[in-house]
Symmetry: D2
Subunit: 301 residues, 4 copies
Amino acid sequence: MPLTPEQQSEIDAQRAQSNTTMRATVPGIEQHMYTAHPVLDHGFVRVIDYMGDDAAICQAARVSYGKGTKTITNDEGLIRYLMRHWHSTPFEMCEIKFHVKLPVFVARQWIRHRTANVNEYSARYSILDREFYIPAPEHINAQSEVNNQGRGDVLEGDEAAQVLEHLKADSSRCYDHYEEMISQDGQAGLARELARMNLPANVYTQWYWKVDLHNLFHFLRLRADTHAQFEIRVYAEEICRLVADWVPAAYGAFSDYRLGGANISQRGVEALRRMLQGEEVDAASAGMSAGEWREVCGVLG
Amino acid sequence: MPLTPEQQSEIDAQRAQSNTTMRATVPGIEQHMYTAHPVLDHGFVRVIDYMGDDAAICQAARVSYGKGTKTITNDEGLIRYLMRHWHSTPFEMCEIKFHVKLPVFVARQWIRHRTANVNEYSARYSILDREFYIPAPEHINAQSEVNNQGRGDVLEGDEAAQVLEHLKADSSRCYDHYEEMISQDGQAGLARELARMNLPANVYTQWYWKVDLHNLFHFLRLRADTHAQFEIRVYAEEICRLVADWVPAAYGAFSDYRLGGANISQRGVEALRRMLQGEEVDAASAGMSAGEWREVCGVLG
Amino acid sequence: MPLTPEQQSEIDAQRAQSNTTMRATVPGIEQHMYTAHPVLDHGFVRVIDYMGDDAAICQAARVSYGKGTKTITNDEGLIRYLMRHWHSTPFEMCEIKFHVKLPVFVARQWIRHRTANVNEYSARYSILDREFYIPAPEHINAQSEVNNQGRGDVLEGDEAAQVLEHLKADSSRCYDHYEEMISQDGQAGLARELARMNLPANVYTQWYWKVDLHNLFHFLRLRADTHAQFEIRVYAEEICRLVADWVPAAYGAFSDYRLGGANISQRGVEALRRMLQGEEVDAASAGMSAGEWREVCGVLG
Amino acid sequence: MPLTPEQQSEIDAQRAQSNTTMRATVPGIEQHMYTAHPVLDHGFVRVIDYMGDDAAICQAARVSYGKGTKTITNDEGLIRYLMRHWHSTPFEMCEIKFHVKLPVFVARQWIRHRTANVNEYSARYSILDREFYIPAPEHINAQSEVNNQGRGDVLEGDEAAQVLEHLKADSSRCYDHYEEMISQDGQAGLARELARMNLPANVYTQWYWKVDLHNLFHFLRLRADTHAQFEIRVYAEEICRLVADWVPAAYGAFSDYRLGGANISQRGVEALRRMLQGEEVDAASAGMSAGEWREVCGVLG
């Protein structure tokens, strides 16, 4: 993710601003403003703007004339209560805007979260940079044998080397031809909207992405999860760190009730009650498939 | 809209804040922060927070590392271009949060705009105030004779007096009984969630309402329109004034292309072309109903 | 909910249709088509249309050229897997449309679910009927002493009688004045959009409400819950019965994983693991407030 | 778009269904059910299900117990009125579900329309077919010289041949390596979720896409427009033909008021009024930029 000097100086100019405002302001997130936090080999996450803080959640929940509750402790208690009882609308009262640089195949997963605002860099209008995601050797895994949509062991030896070689060579050749096709040097030059179709899904794109805190938590719960693909999970994890510095009480509640919590089915609850009374329970007596029972046992340690 | 001393002092405390931020800040809207702008007899609109400015629209449209374009003039030109060609996503990059006090029948129309975030004062949890919308005499109109969902002339004399008398007396009596039913003085006291059903639709409620600029413009186009009911239109008009102070270039483009603009059908365009060539056109030769033709002629003066 | 003869004959005419279609068709829900299922004293729920069935969920999950999986058993297993792992999009592929008659204060809660399509009977355009929700004596409860937004014991004796008397008399008087104000008999007649503001929140309204199955389940989880207000819960419960006849496998999975399931926080999971190993745990050692611990103990029986 | 025999027989089996239903049914769209309508070189659009008809729009607008208005003529008049006055909610009461096969770069534009339900074929879980969009020679254009995001003249001679050669060879080579990397023949086999990143944006994907009629019209207005990229426009045009057979009155109104209509700004309306009074108007006296004035003149012929 080497920024050009022009990009860096634009970021520096933004960070040099010091504006006076009556709005709720959070030093914890101000420190991150505009800075490019690296993710993967060429990607980043930058906080461009934010609205609200922990108190703003309480303020909205109470439809108040002033700030939230009287004390930070009360705010935290109220926030935990709201999260626990699925009162989602107060969390929608905070909003954050990111500038993200990410591979196209990650962008295609990300965009499925519809309740956000997006402006993507236009490859109809502009020329994409020669930047492709090439996984680090420790992130080149075999197809999982137990999970049809997951990864197994890290590939090794010749097989790993061959994969890297293909990814690099194909990206490079496709980009060479992309450049060649749009070139107007001695020829008309193919329309950008057509030429882009030659670029593979590991090419980087960029977008501005703005979302409210409730929907961001929903995104993070699914994408910071161990079942998410590694390449989107690292973005989610970076965002988790930023959010923890922005709204620490809300993030704490989210972490306890959602990220670290568990959903147990009615059958699971019944099994659990029997287990707590000392009974032995197995998949059959719990009325579950082997796979589902394994998942429940995973939760219960 | 007489605020209580406690409410006023909470507002004053909010306005006394002076925070330092790197975020885009707009003096034009800062001056309005937290202040209650009166609407109708007891209602108000207060700006609680905002995100972004005119430059932020351009910044997102260009997915830029710095601010928008190089100059304010360029920003304005780009914003007009985006508005004209229905590029709506850059306008979604600005967000504003209001605290609104409004009669329930207005709230019921307002809430139909789904792409916003809302926290309403809970009448299950809290007790509503004794505040009802009673129209000013000049806003008590007869049913329109030409528009089934509009108003005609202002009512006069005994009829107007009787209407006012009914609205006042019924509100007052219903509220007396609401209070009496929930009272725990010498009795159990009816649940608030039940008692509220006795209150008529002119009772005031309050909410926090947060919306992005694109969806706000959509709301304003429909609700600041002459076909909108007067009682919601005055809220929309107040918000128009606030938005003009927040994002003047975007508001200018909205005003030109949406508020003051016209949609003309294919048949209308064809009629227009013939008229510009000096032809006489009427409803029949334009292929329109009398009503539709009247609407077109209204646009063309 | 006495339908007028005209309404009944319109419903009968709709039910007499027998159309031929290649679309997925479900006899279990066809039997309910158009019929008014009574809810509360004057309300109802009617199924107007539906799209998809259990197989359609699997068909979409597999992006298939034909139906779902090969067998109904496989469909059910896949549906349970999708529900358990929060794969929500296949459930969005089913859609249902209802005609609902409901009191305004219930409509105000209901409309907060934004991801649905709604057409409400217009009181700007039309005249509302003289129909008000008056609770049955066994549903007139005191304010709860433990839950600020709930109900306690049933009211009795004079207090209950007084409540009923107020609700009936105020509704009736307000409606008399509504009729009187809009009357054009010897006077101009107040605009309907104004007159409606005199009607209390127990007046009935109607709407067409269309929603996909995923968002309907979300609505049902919140509104068929014991914390929901009784007057909306009875609608949710009636809809649950209809949905069970429409998509039995999906409803079964929803019932097991959502309606009857439990969400346990990270702290709760840790407490649970200790309890399963025979340890004694209380609120303090679980790191929870008394209220939260009580909720967890409620789940664990 | 050669379907495999298995795919064709699954489609035939679906089309052989003859179910009886009380639901609104439209012969015009029934004839298209399940059939793959070819688009581009390997793509298609298939209607999988639909809900509602022209009468259903009127039925919802009137919140009626029976069908729409009394006659088809009345239905059409009401539908034109609703479209003209931006009453969008009745159009949301119709819903349609498609199975679409399309190149990834088209899918990336399409998905930006957020108010729809989508299930895409999973390249984490499954293996993509060896199918790539290769434009026909008459659709290989140069970059436009007047529109930064459009196409100019068709490329010719060696330049065109070179473009085709690159697109074909790069697609083929990337797919060879994709297959080679995931192969488990004599090696572990790369995870599918990783291997897919080697495939260029002209590879075909598939999805189920379900949308209500109002939002479909919005999609069609933008994507059947001459400014849309050719490769998405052909999908939009195919869908237009299907919708015209499904809801002819609604499609007619959409065609007149949206597809063929024009939006004129306030400045444009003022210029128009002056022109109709015989005045000469130019860009400067209309207060417009040269580009904007050219657009207005284009509308006025």
